[in-house]
């Protein structure tokens, strides 16, 4: 794995949302994710995990401190990032394939080449669908797909423009346990194949430990990183690993940190 220099860095970041009371959502938040690394951020609810996502993708800018992505200070939306959320947010009037093409209609340089390279882009989308087990589902509408299939589509949409950074905000939170584990494997394989940097925000400690190279634990609001835990389970990891005592110990340890963070 090409784990090298820092790719996403937040340094001493304070942030509060405009309006209302200006209580800080995050305070003194520092985190550094290396290129090609899989990072997971866990913490009690309302700890500012989603704020972290918005800061790292340039949807929000910090009150204090700095955010750097790919060596550049973030001052506008980071176009090299793909995002997926708990809700698949697919457009019901577009087929699955057309949903996948949406980012390409927005982001440059694909945007201006859309007309000319439509066939090529569609092919790319179909390949991506195949790689997450949705071969030949491209012509269906999102509402004809199951929840898990919709979430796979949402992941594909986040990846279609071949981003260097993938931001996932509880992407499997709404799925049943079996589907969730299936999708863990999907995302594990995608990351292994593409060497893409992933930041996963989640409530699920097993998910974090199974997928991540490093797990960051955030404190309750205003959020900051209180613990950083390297996960040294060998890769490629099989789902079986989640039943080993080693794995359970790490989950247990992290759980202790969260309990403390909630107080």
């Amino acid at each position: 794995m090409t784990v090298s220099e820092a790719f996403v860095t937040l340094d001493g970041v304070d942030h509060a949302y405009a309006g209302a009371n200006s209580a800080l959502a995050v305070e003194g938040l520092s985190i550094s994710v290396k290129q090609g690394e899989f990072a997971a951020v866990v913490g009690p609810s309302g700890c500012g995990k989603s704020t972290l996502m918005k800061l790292a993708t340039g949807l929000q800018f910090p009150r204090a401190g700095s955010v750097t992505v790919a060596g550049q200070k973030v001052s506008a939306p980071v176009k090299i990032a793909g995002m997926a959320f708990q809700a698949p947010t697919l457009l019901p009037w577009r087929t699955t394939l057309e949903n996948l093409l949406l980012p390409l209609e927005i982001v440059e340089p694909h945007r201006s080449e859309m007309r000319r390279r439509k066939a090529e882009f569609s092919e790319r989308a179909r390949n991506l669908l195949t790689s997450v087990g949705l071969r030949d589902q491209g012509e269906k509408y999102p509402w004809e797909l199951s929840g898990g299939m919709q979430q796979r589509t949402s992941l594909c949409r986040a990846l279609i423009h071949e981003p260097q950074l993938l931001m996932l905000d509880e992407p499997f939170g709404a799925l049943d346990a079996f589907t969730r584990e299936e999708l863990w494997c999907v995302i594990r394989d995608l990351q292994a194949a593409r060497k893409i940097t992933v930041v996963l925000v989640t409530h699920d400690l097993r998910e974090a430990v199974f997928l991540a190279d490093r797990v960051f634990v955030m404190s309750s609001r205003p959020g900051r990183i209180v613990v950083e835990r390297k996960i040294e389970l060998p890769r490629p990891r099989d789902l079986e690993v989640t039943f080993t005592p080693e794995f359970q110990d790490i989950v247990h340890e992290l759980r202790g940190h969260i309990v403390k963070a909630r107080q």
């Binding site: 918005k54 993708t57 340039g58 949807l59 506008a76 939306p77 980071v78 176009k79 990032a81 793909g82 995002m83 997926a84 959320f85 809700a87 947010t89 457009l91 019901p92 009037w93 949406l102 980012p103 209609e105 927005i106 982001v107 440059e108 509408y141 509402w143 949409r157 986040a158 423009h161 931001m167 905000d169």
Partner: protein, 257 residues
Amino acid sequence: MTRTNLLIKLSPWLFTIGLFVVWEAAVHIFNIPVFFLPPPTAIAQAFVDYSGPLARNSWITLQTTLIGFALAVGFGMLLGLLVGWSRAIYAGLYPLMIGFNAIPKVALVPILVLWFGIGFVPAVLTAFLISFFPIVVNVATGLATIEPELEDVLKALGASKLDIMRKVGIPRTLPYFFGSLKVAITLAFVGSVISESVASNYGIGNLMLQAQAQFQVPLIFAGLVVLAIEGIVMYAAMAILEKRMTGWAQRSGFAQA
């Protein structure tokens, strides 16, 4: 087709016929005078006797309504997009629109007459003024309820507000928009008939007013029936349009059950 399905298909006709039968019977049983409540047969007779004026005037009312409605669609869509575009415009225009909508439109007719004289133009404008509001509100609602996550996904890719509007906002507003057309077309009839009865020499509204002056009660009711029929036909046309344009939004079996 099963028996139940057949029954559902037939039931609108059965209920309508039933209403007229009960009406006719009631008039005869209780000996209600024709000038108070004419029986359906007398109304039908009025249709035969006055077929010329009824046809001419209903055509005028239909035209008036449709032109006013078309204006409302164009203007309502534009204003809805504008209101949905920015919170500042929304905050600024909303109280004005509520205030304007609260004004009974019949109160505007004298002003319109002052400006445009009696006849066709005030009727078109009344139909327009009364029917644009639901279109504006629905279009703006469609835009205001875009999922914030989806907005984030697109913004992170560098999408402009116009991009989000074109790719997401407008398509997702269409079901609301077409839904509002059904309400708007019915209101447009209200507007044109109000204006016709107050300030016009043509149209069903005017015809009913004259029939009233001459105590031709069956003709008044014939006018009502004409309006009801035009209303149903236009409503059905809007419903079909809605279904064709936004089939993706109507996949639930709920409404069909």
